[in-house]
Symmetry: C2
């Protein structure tokens, strides 16, 4: 029941976001090829649109409109996609496949991929730049204190499996994944005028959600085929990366995901029925590896 | 006389900026190696600090304090340096030398260079993100409608000397260089509450200044040694790039620079003595190729 509701809501958010995104890109005044084409190729590849959905859920729990959160949804999705494009580069993770298609540098060349990522990050701040506090918050979660910081730690470790332990991996995932989940969820609430208590609770929830998301990703990398994943499977082991599965085994990783999921849901308890949607969403995410 | 005044002012601005920059970096809470080291290596390499100086001059002509413009100065200099790091990458201009030292990817590796650029762009918006209208304006000048757009055009042309003419080159330089000059100068004025008339005039002046700056750069690339430039000389010809010198010859390029410089100064005429500093600065810049 609740899982079905979460799936329905998610598809409504996705539908709205695809429309908002398409309108935004169509109206954008400057479209230099081939970089613009590469940006569109990356951003319009579908995907689950988890971050935009979080932005909308943040607006909702703060009592705001989805329209008010459109900018945050666009901004965080642009940031997410710039990071994917740059992460896939030969000098980073060197991945050829993403969402079932060639990665941006494979399809457009490396120079274009670097610029497309840069332009998407700039575009994110064109979207949210006028929003004062919210824009600053998103920049912080996207930068060295957040996502980019996590990529730094990740890059420094690649090829050194075994050097770092579970605590270190928790930190990486909190930075690499949770930070942008926070930007989306708390950013969506912030732009709608949420108070500090709600923002803090949403941050705690988003931190747990990001960690669960990453553990689930590690599990799926081992369990799934490239067809299901839409990207090359078994990449983590190939790249010698430390993952929750390599540290804790499959069952241990699943157990950890369940525990963190409970923690995240507990952070929202005091908000009662208003938090129902976010609780359902956390369970839906975890359900991917049941 | 006026040249000496411009040089003095520039060195005062530079002095202030180096202090502000050093304080900002020191106080920054998260410093993951080696990416942080690469960011500092790039940003603290000296340079003329033209963009921070423009931000301070913008504040001054708008009747604001230099302190108010510090964020803009930091933001535009971070953006400038991210673009240099990414421009120098092997998949872009493939340059080994910058400001007399190995480029970031030569000193730290490509992956670190990509991330250092990304983190600097994020840092720029952490600095100015809270500033509403000014932040949005800077993002626009930095993105597809401005600097990044110019890099797109530039990348698309590399290796195709002769395909594009003077008008096309004007457009590239207006985007690649002038846009960030606008972000600095008009951004510095905007954050101090400048009105629309002043902003428009500063934009026109900055557009000319950026073009002159680029023409002067083309000329110096031909005339100077690597020692004087602090980067490899003769790179443009080596890379098969269309430049003002390749299109107009040395004398033609100098003549064009003088004409555009006059145009830029004319845009500020109505502001009388208040614009004296910017007029001097334009002449100083042009004087580099006398």
């Amino acid at each position: 029941m609740t899982e079905r509701r979460a799936v329905n809501n998610l598809s409504l958010y996705k539908e709205r976001f695809e429309r908002v995104l398409s309108d935004y890109l169509q109206a954008y005044p400057v479209k230099f090829s081939p970089v613009w084409d590469a940006m569109v190729y990356a951003v319009c590849a579908g995907g689950k649109r988890v971050r935009p959905a979080l932005a909308y859920m943040g607006a909702k729990i703060a009592g705001g409109s989805m329209e008010r959160a459109d900018k945050v949804a666009l901004g965080v999705e642009f940031i997410h996609n710039y990071s994917l494009i740059h992460d896939d580069l030969p000098c980073m993770d060197d991945d050829d496949l993403r969402r079932g298609r060639p990665t941006v540098h494979k399809a457009f060349g490396e120079g274009t991929a670097v610029l497309a990522g840069d332009a998407l990050l700039n575009l994110a701040f064109e979207c949210v730049g006028g929003e004062g506090e919210t824009a600053k918050y998103i920049a912080k979660q996207s930068g060295m204190c957040g996502m980019a910081g996590g990529q730094c730690l990740d890059l420094a470790n690649t090829g050194n499996a075994g050097v770092q332990g579970e605590e270190w991996l928790d930190k990486i995932n909190s930075l690499k994944t949770s930070a942008l989940f926070k930007a989306a969820l708390a950013g969506g609430a912030m732009i709608c005028g949420a108070d500090g208590e709600l923002i803090c609770a949403l941050e705690e929830y988003a931190d747990c959600l990001g960690k669960v998301f990453q553990i689930v990703d590690d599990i799926l990398d081992v369990q799934s085929s490239a067809e299901v994943l839409g990207k090359s499977a078994g990449q983590d082991e190939k790249n010698g990366k430390v993952t929750y599965v390599s540290l804790l085994g499959l069952d241990g990783a699943k157990q950890k995901a369940r525990a963190i999921n409970d923690e995240g849901k507990a952070a929202l308890e005091k908000f009662g029925a208003a938090a129902g949607e976010l609780i359902d969403f956390a369970d839906l995410l975890l359900g991917r590896v049941k």
